[in-house]
């Protein structure tokens, strides 16, 4: 491996960007694929695309039987929950078990208390303050569950513009309709708005807070692992 390639790989990792090192096993020649820069022209496009999704390293062969090893480097997925509500209390441990780095953000200190969220990364601040420290990125999922536009709207807009892999918002269709009016007049495009998962979560008839947490986590995992169905 050239030191130059190793340094470039470490730069991508430090910036929470996905990358794959392709090693030609017969010659030892290597190249670095930065997901951020696009790889649409790459002869191994399908395999690279699949590997970025699964985040699994592995050996592959091209159509000529040539062996390549793909070292996949993907940042750990994060889930940022806006709203320290009852659903969040169930969602935090579930998402942690599933391997997510989980944060809960809620400026209402009565909600965002360590007693209610033992062991969670809890931020009892406005989302603006949280975002200054930890900006959203494409490996972040954002679930806004406060029902309060003053708290939810800004992180939703930020999540859409940052290309978060999942953006979901709690609320009925009526609430979501009002949200659409607000966000569109704030400059969010119609296409971007349609990326919001609302009503939030998989349609599994969830009713209790814990069941809703399961449906949200299911949607987040689906967005992380499956190709978008458009």
């Amino acid at each position: 491996m050239k030191l130059e390639l190793l340094t470039a790989l470490n730069e991508e990792r430090a910036a929470r960007r996905a990358a794959i090192v392709v090693t030609d096993m017969s010659s030892g020649v290597q190249r670095l694929i930065k997901k951020h820069d696009g790889f649409g022209d790459d002869p191994l496009f399908d395999e690279l695309d699949k590997r970025f999704r699964s985040s699994k390293s592995g050996m592959i062969e091209d159509e000529n039987g040539q062996a390549f090893f793909l070292t996949v480097s993907v940042p750990p997925p994060r889930l940022v929950i806006i709203g320290a509500v009852h659903i969040s209390q169930a969602l935090v441990p579930m998402a942690q078990l599933a391997g997510f780095d989980v944060s809960v953000v809620d400026p209402r200190t009565a909600f965002a208390s360590a007693d209610r969220f033992p062991g969670a990364d809890l931020c009892a601040e406005w989302p603006e303050a949280y975002l200054r420290d930890k900006p959203f990125d494409p490996f972040t999922a954002v679930a806004a569950v406060t029902h309060d536009p003053k708290i939810d709207d800004l992180p939703l807009q930020t999540a859409l513009s940052a290309g978060c892999f999942y953006v979901g918002a709690l609320g009925s269709r009526k609430t979501h309709g009002k949200r659409q009016d607000r966000l569109l007049s704030a400059g969010v495009s119609e296409d971007a708005f349609q990326r919001i998962d609302a009503p939030i979560g998989l349609d599994i008839g969830a009713s209790s807070p814990a069941e809703i947490a399961v449906s949200i986590l299911g949607s987040v995992i689906s967005a992380l692992r499956q190709k978008p169905t458009s």
């Binding site: 491996m1 050239k2 030191l3 130059e4 190793l6 340094t7 790989l9 470490n10 990792r13 090693t23 096993m25 030892g28 985040s55 699994k56 390293s57 592995g58 050996m59 090893f69 070292t71 996949v72 480097s73 993907v74 940042p75 750990p76 391997g99």
Partner: protein
């Protein structure tokens, strides 16, 4: 899941060692069969004095990988090693868990 937490320190250490002028090799688990202890993509970095960081097997075969890596550093030619119960004739070491792994060992080019 191959996330940074598995490999973070090893690749950062590799870069730091190389930048400080040490001759190093990088070992990577490329294939596993059965109950291999470390997933594909796991790294071990080795310098020419046999110092190492990371793991490719959780301790079973690191000694042999390190010895081989010192040769790789000397020859500057990558090589692929295989370990496992099926290969006891070829190797003095094996995986006690009964699995089998293949490890790619490559030199990391030093700064000119």
């Amino acid at each position: 899941m191959a996330t940074y937490s598995d490999t973070d320190d090893v690749l950062a250490t590799a870069a730091t060692w190389a930048q400080s002028g040490r001759q190093i090799a990088l070992a990577t688990v490329t294939e596993t069969w059965g109950s291999a202890p470390r997933p594909v993509g796991s790294h071990l970095v080795i310098d020419d004095e046999g110092n190492f960081e990371g793991s490719v097997s959780g301790g079973c075969v690191e000694g042999a990988v390190v010895a081989e890596a010192v040769d790789v550093i000397r020859t500057q030619k990558p090589t692929t090693l295989e370990f496992g119960v099926a290969d006891e004739k070829a190797w003095q070491v094996g995986l006690s868990c009964g699995g089998r792994i293949r490890v790619y060992v490559e030199p990391v080019e030093s700064p000119a």
